[in-house]
Symmetry: C2
Subunit: 204 residues, 2 copies
């Protein structure tokens, strides 16, 4: 992807895309602004017009992953019934993680750069979390107590989803002596158990 006459207006986005490619090819620890510049066919100094350091660029890459992830969650089939909607979102969460293991790992399995605290990354990450909060708000309402319960349940559900996909992607599960029926039904069982726990909680 050589483009020496890249307009300045596009360079910022092009850097993010090129950095993403460098990470995919060489691993996150080998990202450098020099490689990004080389990939874009621009001077070594050019990326610095938009990113003060490699870490600023890395934060932008992870932020873009969060925006894609949020769009993917939003593209689920939507349901009137919040429980069905929650299940649809869970299915979409797993599909994203399995289809985009690198991006998933960048968001949830790697150390964010120190520059993250002042970046769009936080905003985009919170936006993804808010998609889950919004579905739970349809169950809990919007009182002050409800806001606490929404966040506790969001953390419970997120723990389940994150644990499930990282275990499914790991070697540990592969080597366990589970019968095929169990292996194939783990996601469904996890959804069922979340649903049971939520129903019991909401009926109180």
């Amino acid at each position: 992807m050589q483009n020496i006459n890249l307009p300045i207006i596009d360079l910022k986005q092009a850097c993010v895309k090129a950095a993403h490619e460098v990470i995919a090819e060489k691993g996150i620890e080998h990202l450098s602004l020099r490689d990004v510049a080389r990939k874009l066919g621009v001077s070594h100094q050019a990326p610095y017009r938009h990113y003060a350091s490699k870490d600023h660029l890395l934060a932008a890459v992870i932020a873009r992953c969060f925006r894609d992830f949020a769009s993917f969650l939003d593209a689920r089939q939507h349901f009137e019934d919040p429980e069905e909607d929650l299940a649809a979102m869970g299915g979409q969460y797993i599909a994203y993680a399995m289809q985009h293991p690198l991006e998933y790992r960048l968001m949830f399995g790697s150390t964010w750069p120190d520059t993250a605290s002042n970046s769009e990354l936080i905003r985009d990450a919170v936006h993804s979390f808010n998609i889950l909060r919004n579905v739970l708000a349809r169950m809990h309402g919007n009182s002050e107590a409800a806001l606490i319960n929404i966040d506790l349940d969001a953390m419970f559900i997120w723990s389940n989803m994150h644990g499930l996909v990282t275990i499914m992607q790991s070697d540990a599960m592969q080597y366990l002596d589970l019968v095929p029926h169990v292996k194939n039904n783990v996601p469904k069982h996890v959804f069922d158990m979340i649903c049971v726990a939520m129903k019991s909680r909401l009926s109180k």
Copy 2:
């Protein structure tokens, strides 16, 4: 740790310990038998008496982590009531992960070496999983159907625990705008929800 006259009988264990230290100091990707030999003050060839390759040694390091982890789970306070016992084990699981992040990552967050399929590693990993299965067997019994349910529930509980500790160790949670009450009560809430789901399931 220099010991030129290390008896052969101890070299095998010493290699595992030294490899663990090299990983802690330099990272898993920089483990080499050469560094292990240097650390032990033995010839470069000496570790090969016990480990055919770096990967064989790495599998032995991870296996040792699983044995320590299993001992830690077994050292929990034991209860007659299986639900209380399950909660005690969950607390112990979290404590281990938070106190031993490197070892936790080696077991559950890294790619196992290809040699794993023929090693003690699988046996030790399954042994850890069996600790959870054994508590669940006290709830479900030992019928054929029960064995399926034990494994489905074990995967549900493990997903929760693994998701919880990796999220707590990640940057993503740190940057979420959660109020302190929520942050402090996430583990308790996750335990409560597991307990509710299990109770409902067992009462059917």
